[in-house]
Amino acid sequence: MIIERSQGKLKVIDACCPRAKSVIEQTPPELQPRVNGKAASLDEAIAAAAGHLKKAERPLLAGLGTDVDGMRAAVHLAEASHGILDHMHGRAISNNMRVLQSRGWMTTSLTELRNRADLVVFVGTDARQFQRFYERAIWPAETMFAPKPAQRQLVYLGNGLKAPTSGAPKGIKSSQLKCPPEQLGELAGAVNAVLLGQPLNNRVASIKPDAIEKLAEQLKNAKYSVIVWAPGELPDDTAEHTIESICNLVETLNETTRSSGFILGGGDGATTATSVSAWLTGYPLRVSFARGYAEYDPVANDTQTLLDDRSVDAMLWLSTLASERKVPAGERKLPTIVIADSEQCLESEPDVFIPAGIPGVDHIGTLIRADSVVSLPLKQVRDIGRTRAADILQAIHARL
């Protein structure tokens, strides 16, 4: 990324993640720590936050939009306060993770997809939320092995999905099979059945057998197909079944040719939080330290459920990656600590508000990419005196 500074303002002058660009170019808001709505020093706010956590029997540490160091500190703080950890995308993470834990999967990473895929099937997503995905992986200027990017077959399964027009090379080959999102699992299962030699006599998800057979044929003939899903874009009730069906299909394809899944997600630090939790505790998210050691329960340790059930008695919300996600709340008001890069997540005044820096803007840091392989070193581009979330969490920890 190339950033220019003129007249005290920062301007991004090359291609980069649009969210990063907008954050860097904005004039940062003036923010000050607050306790009970009143301006406080950082030290006072940290003391107040520690006070709430000390009093709490079962605090929830949620949001977790942070970098590796921030997540390390969050895990250690949860351990020390016998708290529960969940990410703002915890539902999507858990739907996906439950499939991994029941059957495993075959996946690929971004650079492989870019260079090898001759057929990309998008299930329930057109990846448009992931703004640089097409530019970096689907339509790069050149590839090592795959046919020319424009020749790449793109197939969309779902409703209202299509390839974006901006940035698309001329003559792209894309098609869509219309399918209600709840029935994507059945559709993937039907393709798998065809490949396993089972005759298809009826429509599946209102799709004619010959269209399903055609897709099966395309997959079978592809040298390296990639099936893309975005756990966060699948309906909650059927996400697990859909992902499982896709993984079954990929496994069948690999009996004769090569095929891989590709998971789109990881936004707001989801992959970073999951990965750090896994190496420090042995479990991906959702983890509870209620009994002094990590216990994994991807259903029970859900932020909204915990708030609604009143199973937690304080909440620390961490959001430092310019997320628009609001601080969640249950019916009953809990002591709430918000550590965030701006006030856009606030719907009401928390008991403690502590402004924190954005990794890659206000301080250096590391984020792990959605494919769980590559991690990126982040640089500092401005200094407006914002503290790192990791330092804030460690300071709270020290006061427990």
Binding site: L100, T111, E112, N254, T257, V276, P377
Partner: protein, 556 residues
């Protein structure tokens, strides 16, 4: 700080000390010969009757990086049975097959280990690997960068780039990924799997590049040698787990052309095809070849019975092995035009013929390879078994009657086919000290480690001798790391950070020009971001760099 270990029975093979009673003095983290007359001893340990060795060093243990983290996520049920609560000193975590990083560090230290080496770090995953290693306390760490299936090297070989250029790329990789050595896994096979090749023998060409595993082995072993890197090319050969692979392994040894080579988890590469089940031991042939070829070292990759998980870069063989997954779930991943990984849970059963024979083959190798300086004790953690089984393995090596008892429990046909029962060798404490600390330190080029002479880093383990070697080795009386007491009676008493061993062989910086072009054309990250900066390791406060010397670079 001055510490005296008084009247210890010392096993220090590097310096030829075998069970001699000596005093050892430690000042400020290092061993010294004798303090001045006016110096006061701050800590005194009366070690009469205790066995003292350098801290143990595990040359091949999968403790950090993406595939391990996937294995952790895959197996919550394995963790649930081994919860580790936080204490006043230590973090919580969990154990068994793929422990949480803090737990791995504590448990290694509690077994008397002071350094552990992650043997298969994908360059594209180097940053995360170092993050995980930093979160592994107590022990020093290091990693071997995995090359040989990366498209960049295969393109070089295909286009006939000269050895000097390959050497530059290898040296650059070592530095960019903060590695200590180079590993090759199923040379070229991980790449070939992406082109749908399902097996690859040593002289079989990659369908896209036309490059053979042997060409890759030769190019990389020469590169490592000519760059002056102490540890030889660390080789996970072709055909892992395939009956008949003994021929491939022998061919690898014979084709090494006198260049140093380390063949890892060789147990998995020592299988014949004799007998009714077409599965037999090739250990005798392998041991004979290793005994004869002094340029070759090995580690065993012993299997132990029970649940574990295999995590490997060898997607080709892991995909084939998924049919044996237990529990039945597994992961395979193609990674970044760099390599891949496969994670397959396994349950090795003593009543299963194949598993029983695998166990026996490992022991045959231990007992038939003569020179303990060239064979290292490993289970290829967690692939053959978790590292926590080491004390049991040491007892198997030191105690023939115990070994014979265990032999009676395995599948009778496997026991009958194996020579283990007829091998009377019992390892001595001196030989155990060689294979678990002196030899690994020498092989890895860890200056000032693995021995107890003045000047050495004071990584020291004190054992209470016991007729049962398992009892002796599972609970060291004391462990010192950098001269500080960290473990007492098998329990952590102080948490320390450890450092990361690396090498810095020289390279022509012109290599980056072509690499940058390649990254810009094909990769999804920039070359500058690929490289792991020193500060990423040193600024964490929980890690430091220990740069090991290399010999002067030579030209081919």
């Amino acid at each position: 700080m001055l510490i005296k270990l008084a009247s210890a029975t010392v096993y220090d093979p590097v310096n030829g000390v075998n069970a001699e009673v000596r005093d050892i003095y430690i000042r400020d983290g290092r061993i010294i010969s004798q303090p001045g007359a006016d110096e006061t001893i701050d800590e005194h340990y009366d070690l009469k009757g205790y066995a003292v060795m350098a801290g143990a060093i595990d040359i091949h243990t999968h403790i950090g990086g993406g595939k391990l983290n996937l294995a952790r996520m895959l197996l919550p049920e394995d963790h649930r049975d081994d919860p580790v609560p936080a204490t006043r000193l230590t973090h919580s975590g969990c154990g068994h097959a793929v422990p949480a990083t803090p737990t791995a560090g504590y448990r290694y230290a509690e077994l008397g280990y002071t350094a552990c080496f992650e043997p298969a770090m994908l360059p594209s995953n180097a940053r995360q690997t170092h993050l995980e290693l930093a979160d592994t306390p107590m022990v020093d760490k290091g990693a071997y960068a995995l090359l040989g299936s990366d498209d960049y090297l295969l393109r070089m070989l295909k286009s006939g780039k000269e050895q000097e250029a390959i050497n530059d790329y290898v040296a650059w990789t070592l530095q960019a990924t903060q590695s200590l050595a180079i590993k090759v896994v199923n040379p070229g096979g991980i790449n070939a799997f992406k082109f749908n090749q399902r097996q690859m023998d040593i002289d079989e060409p990659n369908s896209h590049y036309g490059v053979t595993p042997r060409q890759i082995l030769t190019a990389l072993s020469r590169a490592v040698h000519e760059l002056g890197v102490t540890h030889p090319l660390h080789v996970h050969g072709c055909n892992l787990g395939v009956p008949g692979n003994v021929d491939t392994t022998l061919s690898t040894i014979n084709g090494s052309d006198g260049l140093p080579l380390h063949l890892t988890h060789i147990q998995f590469h020592s299988y014949g095809t004799e007998g009714d089940r077409a599965f037999s031991s090739g250990a005798a042939q392998i041991a004979e070849a290793v005994n004869r070829n002094k340029n070759v070292s090995i580690d065993v990759g012993q299997i132990m019975f029970g649940q574990t998980v295999t995590a490997s870069g060898d997607t080709m063989k892991q995909h084939a092995a998924h049919k044996h997954a237990s529990p039945n779930k597994w992961i395979a991943m193609d990674i970044e035009c760099d390599a891949g990984c496969g994670v397959v849970p396994f349950k090795y059963k003593d009543k299963n013929f194949v598993n029983a024979l695998q166990w026996a083959i490992g022991l045959e190798l231990f007992l038939m390879v003569d020179d303990p300086w060239r064979i290292f004790l490993t289970t290829d953690h967690p692939n053959g078994a978790p590292f926590t089984t080491y004390p049991h393995l040491i007892r198997l090596l030191m105690d023939k009657s115990f070994r014979d008892e265990q032999l009676k429990r395995i599948h009778p046909d496997a026991a009958a086919l194996s020579t283990v029962g007829s091998l009377s060798r019992e390892y001595s404490l001196y030989e155990i000290a060689i294979m678990t600390r002196a030899a690994p330190a020498k092989s890895l080029g860890l200056q000032d480690y693995g021995h107890l002479a003045p000047g050495a880093v004071a990584d020291i383990t004190v054992y209470k001798p016991h007729r049962n070697a398992e009892t002796m080795f599972e609970k060291p009386e004391y462990v010192f790391k950098d001269g500080r007491l960290i473990v007492k009676r098998g329990k952590v008493v102080r948490v320390v950070a450890g450092g990361t061993h690396t090498v810095r062989p020289e390279y022509d910086s012109g290599v980056e020009k072509d690499l940058k072009r390649y990254f810009d054309r094909y990769h999804t990250m920039q070359l500058d971001n690929f490289r792991v900066a020193d500060s990423e390791i040193t600024d964490t406060g929980i890690n430091r760099l220990i740069v090991q010397p290399t010999r002067a670079r030579t030209r081919s």
